[in-house]
Every structure is written in structure tokens, then in C-alpha cells.
């Protein structure tokens, strides 16, 4: 089944229409989207760096992860909300954009990975997961989120 009818429906939605017709709305929403990205990046990186053995090394991973969690979730909420609005404004463009496909795939993988494997590893007590695995989790997390960021940036270039 083709997703094109769904994308067309999104593009024709009243919200999409309103954002497209305004000179300011899209840039403003885009800016908020970018600010939320920074917030997620900070909250994710602090923990991933720690998992890798860098940054706040004296702090227990689980504690850092718990501290960063609300900011990550908050950032994600804003990100998804503004992201949906941006999508509604140019759904058809996204349908034909390889960058959008890359971004959505990375996002899906990043979310699943973050709330399953990474969550388990960060909340596990010290020494229960080997340093090599922790590093691997950190690298995968950073790579997946970078894919989301780069994919997003490239939607604008197509």
C-alpha cells in the first residue's frame, strides 16, 4: 500500500495549510524544533559520554541518566510536536525526500534503542554490564541521534 494518500491528506490538512500560508510560522516552529534538538543533545550526550568513560566519570551512570531523563523526554516532546507541524506543512516534499526517510528510520531506531537497550544498560548497577558493551551502547546512541540530526538538516537541502 502506498503512503502517498496519507501524505497528501496531511499536506491538505488545515494546520498544514495555515503554516504554509504564513510567512513566519514555519521559521518560528523550525527554530523551536532546533532548540529542542539542543536540549535532547545535551541530555543524551552527558549520559552517553559517561557510558563511554568520558565527561562526568565520577558520577554513577544510573544517577546521571535519571537526572537527564526529564530533559530528554521534555526535549523529545517539543521535538515531536514541532516536527509533526513542520511535516504537515510540507508532507508531499517529505514523501519524495530520501533525507526524510533516513531521518524517520534513524528516529524510530533511536527511540526504540533509547527506551530498551540503552535504558537497561544505564539503569543497571555499576559493573553489571561490561565496559565494552557500555561503550558500544554509547556509540550506537550517538550515531543514531546524529542520523536524525543530519537527516533533518538535509530535508531542507532537497
Amino acid at each position: 500500500m502506498s503512503l502517498l494518500p496519507f501524505f497528501t491528506w496531511c499536506e491538505k490538512s488545515a494546520v498544514g495549510e495555515a503554516i504554509r500560508n504564513s510567512q513566519w510560522l514555519f521559521p518560528v516552529i523550525e527554530s523551536v524544533h532546533l532548540l529542542a534538538l539542543v536540549l535532547i543533545a545535551g541530555a543524551v550526550l552527558v549520559v552517553d559520554m559517561r557510558l563511554f568513560g568520558l565527561g562526568l566519570r565520577r558520577q554513577p551512570v544510573a544517577e546521571l541518566a535519571r537526572d537527564a531523563q526529564p530533559w530528554m523526554i521534555g526535549g523529545l516532546t517539543v521535538m515531536v510536536t514541532t516536527g509533526i507541524l513542520l511535516f504537515l506543512a510540507e508532507a508531499i516534499k517529505c514523501y519524495y525526500s530520501p533525507a526524510f526517510a533516513v531521518k524517520m528510520t534513524s528516529l524510530l531506531l533511536a527511540l526504540v534503542f533509547t527506551f530498551t537497550v540503552r535504558r537497561k544498560v544505564t539503569l543497571a548497577g555499576e559493573g553489571r554490564v561490561g565496559p565494552l558493551w557500555r561503550r558500544l551502547v554509547a556509540v550506537v546512541s550517538v550515531l543514531l541521534w546524529s542520523g536524525v540530526g543530519i537527516g533533518g538538516r538535509w530535508i531542507g537541502f532537497s
Binding site: L35, L56, A68, W145, W154
Partner: protein
């Protein structure tokens, strides 16, 4: 040499033209700029939130700063290089872009904030490291930093939009003044 003629000269160099016209170069530099922003600002935001006691309250501020700032500095170095390259690709347009000018001014203010913080209250950080309520100067520095950097990100994003470009007249005279445009002629 005026800034205007410097920018015009810069725009005429072969490197600037090459970057400006490149299919891959410009987007790659821009992507790097965004990616290192995540590293640089991510670290800064976490430190600022710590200064406001909004996260990592059990981690001493000196440790947060000591451990995160080296990464922020590394990220900042790449941001300056990629930012300079982005400017190099479109010097005249950037020079007359109102958002670019706002961004530069706020960058200077952000730098001042860093200087005030580090030469002031941060010198005695070990005395208030784990206080439940941090000194007001530290909280202010964190809040100012968050507001300034958020504005810098927004201004940076807006550089891409040409609403106030010199060749789109008529504009309010304030806009023309701030963007350094001659409202009577089209550039």
C-alpha cells in the same frame, strides 16, 4: 578598507565562489555546524541547567564545569571554523543580513557573560559547589546564557530567510539602518 569592501573582496575570491556554488561542500559544512552545535550547546545547556539547580543537583558545579567545558570548547572551535566557512561562502549577503548582525552582537554578549562568570563568582566555586541554592550571580549567569544562546540559535536559523534583504525594498528605515542597506537603491 571598510567592512563592506572587505566582504565584497572576500566574495570575489575563488574559494568563496567555489564554496558558494558547491553542490556538497556548503551543505556538509552546514551539517557539521549543526552537529557540533549539539555537542557545544548540549554541554552548555546542561551546565546552565545545573547552575539553575534544575538537573544533576548532587554533582558539584566544579565537576560539571570541569568535565563538560573541555567538550564545549572543542565543539565551539569547530563551530567557529564551520561558521567562518559559512560566512566565507556568502560574505556580502551575511554582512547585510539583519539576523547575522543580531547573532554577532549576541555572541559578543554571550562571551561577556562567560567572562563575567569565570572572572567573578566561579573563582570561588568550591565554596558553593553543592549549595541547595546557588549564589545569585551563578544563577543569573546560567539564565542569561540560556536566553542568549537560544536567541543565537534562532537568529542563526533565520539568516537563511531573506525577508529583510537589501534587494527587497521598501523596508522600514530601522530595518535598512540595522542591515546597513541603502533603501533607495537596489543592491
Amino acid at each position: 578598507m571598510s567592512l563592506q569592501s572587505f566582504c565584497e573582496w572576500l566574495a570575489s575570491t575563488s574559494g568563496s565562489i567555489a564554496l558558494h556554488e558547491s553542490v556538497w561542500g556548503y551543505p556538509i559544512v552546514e551539517s557539521l555546524h549543526v552537529l557540533t552545535m549539539c555537542l557545544f550547546l548540549g554541554m552548555i545547556v546542561m551546565l546552565d541547567l545545573r547552575l539553575l539547580s534544575l538537573t544533576m543537583r548532587t554533582v558539584p558545579v566544579s565537576q560539571v564545569a570541569g568535565r563538560l567545558l573541555p567538550w564545549a570548547r572543542a565543539g565551539f572551535a569547530v563551530m567557529v571554523i564551520t561558521g567562518a566557512l559559512l560566512f566565507y561562502a556568502i560574505p556580502v549577503r551575511a554582512f547585510h543580513n539583519i539576523f547575522f548582525r543580531i547573532k554577532i552582537v549576541m555572541l559578543i554578549l554571550a562571551g561577556l557573560n562567560v567572562w563575567v562568570f569565570h572572572s567573578g563568582v566561579f573563582r570561588r566555586v568550591t565554596e558553593w559547589d553543592l549549595d541547595p541554592v546557588l549564589p545569585k550571580k551563578a544563577r543569573v549567569a546560567g539564565a542569561v546564557s540560556l536566553v542568549l544562546w537560544a536567541s543565537i540559535v534562532v537568529a542563526g536559523r533565520m539568516i537563511a530567510y531573506n525577508w529583510f534583504d537589501c534587494d527587497r525594498q521598501p523596508q522600514p528605515s530601522t530595518v535598512n539602518f540595522l542591515a546597513g542597506c541603502d533603501g533607495n537603491s537596489t543592491e
